[in-house]
């Protein structure tokens, strides 16, 4: 018993850190209806600002606290609400998810552009981290532990009182359920929600500066990981009860520390599974907590006041424009192939090869999100599954990477099917969290296991296996890599176009429009969903393998879960509904990154800032801001097209009409 307590008690303050974040996440969700993925980014901003004000501007701690937490954090929340979330109809869950994920990706990147210095951990406020205040069952509680426990309790109490007992809390709860209905009662719903955003952002900032002293440096990643772990606790409470979330968080902390004490330190369970404990809890909550399945269900009795959402993939192009674009594509394609084989310098050839590999990887997002209508945050993880399978086969069996790619794709598809089966009853937010949890479990396993992932250096070719030479047939020093990658991309693209035009594409289109209606006409939703997950997983696996072949090393960092988020943001910006959107996204990504390589180091992250800003327009332009701009600029030339391609008058009635649930015109998918 004594041993147990000795292990368990240090877990309490650790769990309290989770609890603080979990409670704030629940509050945001309950008061604003948005699951705020950007919470981690807000915490990071406050911590960075707080530290910078103290260490660079030499302000006093309290002044820095006031500026960073009391002033800037709520203003940031207010800006989010007024500029972004208040403009998204409450029923548009996909747009809310995409917007908060873009903020999560974009804000830390933006901060690194503005504040490029590395800061050491800021001082902890109120409690001294070096003083031991209490000893509980033999375990000392220092200042950091104290602040975690005391402030979590305070926040929990204050929030509980506010939501349960104050008129503002009542109005917030009403506003989350239906902003319209609460307005009919004379409540200024917009104002109430704005206040909710400010309070929750204040909490994010507060959590940020409480947590920062725990890390050696002020960086975004630990905040992000901590938040995802806290999501697990919040999920145990189905994002409803703050008290349950807090208790679950403390239990997760205690369980982690207790297991840590009992498990042998060198075992697989200790190194790989234990760090994944919160994500396994998250997966468990998603599977077994009935409340989690109802997350995205519309509660607004006045939902019908909103105009019906456009189907996710309504690509409306006039035939003339489609024709012109497809001609342009063939011209660009021809020029690209000729250039790659002739004049393009080596380093750029490798960048463009990378673009081809990313194109394939991004096409998996086109499949799952554009065609399947589901947001998956595990695509980088699935790519990693494929890549590491191929790499291991190459190293141990001497299988050529191109052959290993097929096996890797199959294995990634199998993992995706497992994921699909686990998440059959989840939609929207639930599914996003499930896939995020899966990506993190994969991350932890592959990163910590020397055998599987090759440790921090990654897996490289060994035993004279040449990864870069597909089937050993072509000379790897020529353009073999380009030709091989390019042919794979072409095959994958053609396959996707065929699927899209075929029965499966139509069935998926129907499902995107309305799952209920689709089930009503006899479509087997379960089977279609598993199918699209499998396809997407296979394509991601292929893309991951291509990436590994191209870089000559399989590094777990390439498939970090943060990339899963970033990839979604990129593809959503360039167009998630079309094949060309994925390809544009991939090339935009690698080319911008290469160009920024010439700029000072701090601008390296500008790529993500650019794409994140693009993705913020998702609510207005679900087809992708790039696609929207393309369409708009094309419209100007429409009279010209009509003259160039006579007889391409659109059918009467089809122009400007939102196509039936994702029924993509032939022209729109040509890429």
């Amino acid at each position: 018993m004594e041993q147990f307590l000795g292990f368990a008690v240090p877990g309490i303050p650790y769990g309290c850190t989770y609890a603080l974040v979990a409670v704030a996440l629940v509050l945001t969700y309950r008061a604003t209806g948005v699951f705020n993925f950007a919470f981690a980014a807000q915490a990071y901003v406050a911590a960075l600002l707080f530290t910078a004000l103290i260490q660079s501007a030499h302000l006093s701690e309290w002044l820095a606290f006031v500026i960073a937490v009391v002033v800037v954090s709520p203003l940031l929340g207010l800006a989010f609400d007024r500029l972004l979330f208040s403009r998204i109809p409450n029923s548009n869950n996909m747009a809310k998810l995409v917007t908060s994920i873009s903020l999560l990706v974009g804000i830390p990147a933006l901060m690194q552009v503005f504040i490029p210095q590395n800061y050491y951990a800021p001082p902890s406020i109120v409690f001294n981290p070096n003083t031991v205040y209490f000893t509980l069952a033999g375990a000392p509680l220092n200042g950091l532990d104290m602040s975690a426990i005391v402030f979590t309790a305070l926040v929990l109490f204050a929030m509980g009182v506010m939501m349960r007992l104050t008129p503002l809390g009542l109005q917030m709860r009403g506003a989350v359920e239906s902003r319209r209905l609460v307005q009919l009662d004379g409540v200024n719903a917009g104002g109430v929600v704005a206040v909710a955003w400010m309070i929750s952002s204040f909490l994010a900032g507060f959590a940020g500066i409480l947590l920062a002293p725990n890390f050696s440096q002020v960086q975004a990643q630990p905040f992000l990981t901590l938040m995802v772990a806290a999501i697990a606790a919040a999920a145990c409470a189905a994002f409803r009860s703050m008290a349950v979330a807090a208790v679950a968080a403390v239990l997760i902390g205690v369980a982690t520390f207790t297991l840590q004490g009992y498990l042998p330190t060198q075992s697989f369970l200790f190194t790989s599974i234990l760090p994944s404990l919160p994500f396994l809890v998250l997966v468990g909550a998603l599977l077994f907590h009935p409340g989690m399945r109802k997350l995205d269900q519309a509660t607004d009795p006045l939902a019908s006041v909103d105009p019906p959402l456009p189907p996710l993939a309504a690509a409306v192009r006039t035939p003339a424009m489609g024709r012109v674009i497809s001609v342009l594509w063939y011209v660009v394609l021809g020029l690209f192939i000729v250039s790659m084989l002739t004049w393009i310098p080596r380093d750029w050839e490798s960048v463009l090869n990378q673009g081809l590999a990313f194109s394939t990887l991004f096409l998996s997002i086109t499949l799952i999100t554009g065609m399947g209508g589901q947001l998956s945050l595990a695509q980088a993880g699935l790519a990693g599954v494929g890549a590491f399978t191929a790499a291991q086969l190459a190293n141990h069996l001497g299988l050529p990477m191109m052959a290993g790619m097929v096996v890797g794709a199959a294995f990634a598809a199998a993992v995706a099917v497992l994921l699909a089966v686990l998440s059959l009853r989840l939609r929207g937010l639930g599914l996003a969290l499930m896939t995020l949890g899966a990506a993190l479990v994969f991350d932890n396993i592959i990163q910590s296991s020397q055998t599987l992932g090759g440790g921090s250096g990654g897996l490289g070719p060994m035993n004279n296996v040449d990864w870069g030479s597909p089937f050993g047939l072509l000379n790897p020093n020529g353009h073999a890599l380009f030709l091989a990658t390019f042919s794979v991309l072409v095959v994958v693209t053609l396959a996707i176009l065929m699927i899209r035009r075929g029965t499966v594409g139509r069935l998926l289109g129907a499902m995107r429009g309305s799952e209920t209606a689709a089930a009503g006409i006899g479509i087997n939703l379960t089977w279609q969903r598993i199918l699209i997950f499998a396809l997407s997983g296979a394509v991601a696996g292929i893309g991951g393998t291509l990436l590994v072949i191209q870089q000559g090393v399989a590094n777990p960092q390439q498939f970090n879960y943060v990339f899963s988020l970033a990839f979604v943001v990129i593809v959503v910006t360039t167009g998630v509904t079309t094949v060309e959107g994925a390809i544009q996204g991939a090339f935009g990504y690698v080319i911008i990154q290469k160009l920024l390589g010439y700029a000072p180091a701090q601008f390296a992250n500008l790529t993500f800032v650019l794409f994140a800003f693009g993705a913020l327009t998702y609510a207005q332009h679900p087809e992708g801001i790039l696609e929207f701009q393309k369409r708009r600029s094309m419209q100007r030339f429409e009279p010209l097209f009509e003259r160039l391609f006579p007889g391409s008058q659109p059918d009467a009635g089809s122009q400007g009409e939102p196509l039936i649930a994702g029924g993509l015109s032939e022209e729109a998918v040509r890429g």
Partner: protein
């Protein structure tokens, strides 16, 4: 129930926010057009509600009745035209400002917060309508008039039965009588006995000066209460006059539709083919005096107009 209207009117501070001159109009709607996104639901609707009057708004499914109600209370923004409340132009005001002017809207279906308890639902509205001080008194009155709500005051509203939820949404507007009550499909889903009670309640608050716009499908019932009737047909006002004349107007409308439907059926029989469907549709359109076809015109969120309806 009848006691509600009498006893509470004096305690409402909202009284006097809207003061229609005696014999004047409390609500004036002029050339109103509105819709949902690209779908237009109302075309050039004009009518008025005299102070203290009960106006019945009737029409078939998809005629635009709910849209009229929603546009008046600010849930839907008008694209053209104006809504004037006792001399104040409220066309561009947001819903909560209009609500604070003393307009209450009982929405179609279950207009309650299903995650809040019964009492919380009532507190939320009483606080806004009658001020913090009288919340307790109003709660007591609500539970007196609707004992079932008192029994279940701590229960989450979402777990009430459909009829009880309707009662709750009625309690929200009847206990503190508004200046103008917009009631959408009040009797829908209620037992006939309860409907009687509901109408008694409406009469009671009407005697205390609340003007009403009552949207109903139970035409007979509402016409007995109303002092004026409006018939909407496909987003336009087809009749505006006495309740007695409304019945005739509806009959005419229905018979014209039946005729059109019969003609269409006959046409399909004689030409007998799917190719002639557009032709038939055109004929029906002409017959019914509709203005063209296409998406722009159909109030599609409530179903496209069909000859049978």
């Amino acid at each position: 129930m009848t006691s509600i209207g009498h006893s509470s009117s004096a305690s409402s501070p909202a009284a006097g926010v809207l003061t229609a001159e005696r014999g004047g109009e409390i609500l004036e709607v002029k050339n109103l057009s509105a819709g949902y996104g690209p779908y237009r639901a109302l075309f050039d609707v004009s009518f008025s509600i005299p102070a203290g009057a009960v106006v019945a708004l009737i029409g078939s499914n998809g005629a635009g009745k709910s849209t009229v109600a929603r546009t008046i209370t600010g849930l839907v923004t008008a694209t053209e035209g104006s809504v004037t409340l006792a001399g104040t132009d409220v066309t561009k005001l947001s819903a909560w400002r209009i609500a604070r002017l003393g307009v209450a809207h009982v929405v179609e279906g279950r207009g309650v917060f299903s995650s809040l308890s019964v009492e919380e639902n009532l507190v939320l509205v009483f606080r806004q309508r009658a001020g913090r001080r009288s919340v307790a008194a109003n709660l007591a009155r609500a539970y007196e008039a609707f004992p079932i709500l008192g029994e279940r005051r701590k229960q989450v509203a979402g777990t009430l039965s459909g009829g009880q939820q309707r009662l709750l949404s009625l309690a929200k507007v009847l206990v503190v009588p508004p200046k103008l009550l917009v009631a959408d499909e009040l009797s829908l889903g209620l037992a006939p006995v309860v409907v009687d009670t509901v109408y008694e309640g409406l009469e009671a608050i009407n005697r205390n000066g609340t003007a009403m716009l009552v949207v109903e499908q139970q035409v007979d019932r509402v016409l007995r209460l109303a002092s004026k009737a409006l018939v909407l047909d496909r987003g336009r006002v087809a009749y505006d006059g006495t309740p007695a004349g409304a019945a005739t107007a509806i009959d005419q409308l229905l018979s014209r539709r039946e005729e059109a439907g019969a003609r269409a059926a006959a046409l399909v029989d004689t030409t007998g083919g799917a190719e002639s469907a557009p032709q038939v549709a055109d004929m029906v359109e002409d017959e019914m005096g509709g203005a063209g076809s296409g998406l722009e015109d159909c109030p599609s969120s409530e179903g496209a107009p069909s000859p049978e309806s």
